[in-house]
Amino acid sequence: MADIWTECGIWVAAILTIAVYSFAYRDNPLFKFAEHTFVGVAVGYSFVQAIRGVKTFGIDHLTAGEALYIIPIILGFLMYFRYHKTLYWLYRYGISIIVGVGIAASFVRDIETSFLAQIAATAGINIIKADPAATLGNIVFLAAVATTLYYFIFTFPMLHTGRAKTLADAGRWFMMLAFGYAFAKTVVTRYNLMLGRLEFLLFEWLKLPK
């Protein structure tokens, strides 16, 4: 019996996969149906997970005697006042606490993580390595960092004129290379996602031999 249900699931997933990829031809009702189904299922599942989260990380603590947990539960509840015509402003308390805590948690460490540690790591590079390719890589890397930073010095216009412009141009070329790399990697990601679905269609749905 379980096998029949598994097989039904595979068929539904396969039909929805094809429906989603039919968008590559053009927008159509089948794609719309698959899109709305996916969103509906995702919302339903997330809702159940959210309820589970409220129970595990809130109510369970409260019933175990940890009274302070009433505060986040009330703040969470206040967020639903968003839909009240006159008391809607109460939701701001919940939102402000969430945003405030989130920013505080990340910002405090971000200065060191995204600035100081990277400046130290870049400044501490040993340019000369046993491997000539690594040495060349380090030189190119440092040139890229220096010229890219140079490109963004807009305070002194004379740095972007005459021969000095060459440095800024080099920085722009390095950035273009980086964007090209990012675009190429995006293509690889799309292939990877599509291959995952093709694998499902070919081997689990059509049951071709692996």
């Binding site: 599942y45 990380f57 060191e112 993580t113 292939y191």
Partner: protein
């Protein structure tokens, strides 16, 4: 007026390009070409870090992806768990994605810890979905038992043998995160690497590599993209979904390069024709 061949190539209908692409991706999947599998230094480095874990070390594995990116990320996660379960280490698994538990179920079915003699609660545990994003990372780092009262199946953490003596980030030797999100990948650095100096390994979608490269190797000790799953499978001798995709990747890349060359030739030839006609 009928289009000339050059004009037709320049504005080739996308349906044709997509059809050729699907063929290029599907045929090598069904009939692998057996192209060589060179293993990149990034994958070797990843494996070396796993290999270097001392006996009994605790590793936090965060399945930070949902079903949307599962096809791309799961093969690398499967290979990583195979590599971890080969060793005498304790694996604590969690997720920051609400649909992460679905991914965990799929993952653990494919890895099959029983085959390695690993026992749930003794050698590995699943904490489930922990909401809050970066604040959740911080809470788990500071006090695991306070942040997560039970595992995914409702067992209190203090009743799980392998978690009795674990209090937070300082008890872990390594953290591994596989994610499509740059914010998540960077969040682990902010909350686990910067304050505690934990060895951090990150596998991201290929398109997130440029975002994460600046953190490597000073803050992210091993960084790779999920497209390299096949190399990892080959390296550890556990062929799976990733290795099947490698030939398809190569053929699709060749097709794309040829398409770019043909389109450029058509573009410049048409430009020259128009110039000549004018």
């Amino acid at each position: 007026m009928a289009k000339s061949p050059l004009e037709y190539i320049e504005s080739l209908p996308r349906e044709i390009i997509y059809t050729i692409l699907i063929i290029c991706l599907a045929v090598p999947l069904v009939k692998p070409l057996g192209l060589p599998v060179p293993i990149s230094s990034r994958v070797k480095e990843w494996h070396q870090y796993v290999e270097g874990l001392p006996d009994g070390a605790y590793v936090l594995v965060s399945v930070d992806y949902g079903v949307g990116s599962l096809p791309a990320l799961e093969p690398f996660m499967v290979a990583t768990l195979h590599d971890l379960f080969e060793r005498n280490v304790k694996v604590v698994i969690m997720t920051l994605y609400s649909d992460g538990p679905i991914c965990y179920e799929s993952l653990i079915t494919k890895v099959n810890p029983d085959a390695y003699g690993k026992q749930y609660g003794v050698d590995y545990v699943f904490l489930g979905y922990i909401p809050g994003g970066e604040t959740a990372m911080k809470a788990v780092a500071e006090n695991l038992h306070a942040a997560v009262p039970t595992d995914y199946y409702g067992t209190p953490l203090n009743q799980i043998p392998m978690l009795k003596d674990i209090s937070g980030a300082s008890d872990f030797a390594m953290i591994i995160s596989v994610t499509p999100s740059g914010d998540v990948a960077q969040g682990w650095i902010r909350q686990w690497v910067t304050p505690y100096g934990i060895t951090y390994m990150s596998c991201v979608l290929a398109m997130m590599m440029p975002t994460m490269e600046p953190y490597y190797p000073a803050q992210v000790k091993a960084l790779t993209d999920a497209g390299r799953a096949g190399e990892y499978e080959y390296l550890i001798g556990k062929p799976g979904s990733g290795i099947r995709k490698l030939d398809a990747f190569s053929v699709a890349h060749i097709m794309l390069i040829i398409a770019i060359i043909i389109a450029n030739i058509a573009y410049f030839a048409l430009k020259a024709q128009k110039k000549g006609g004018a």
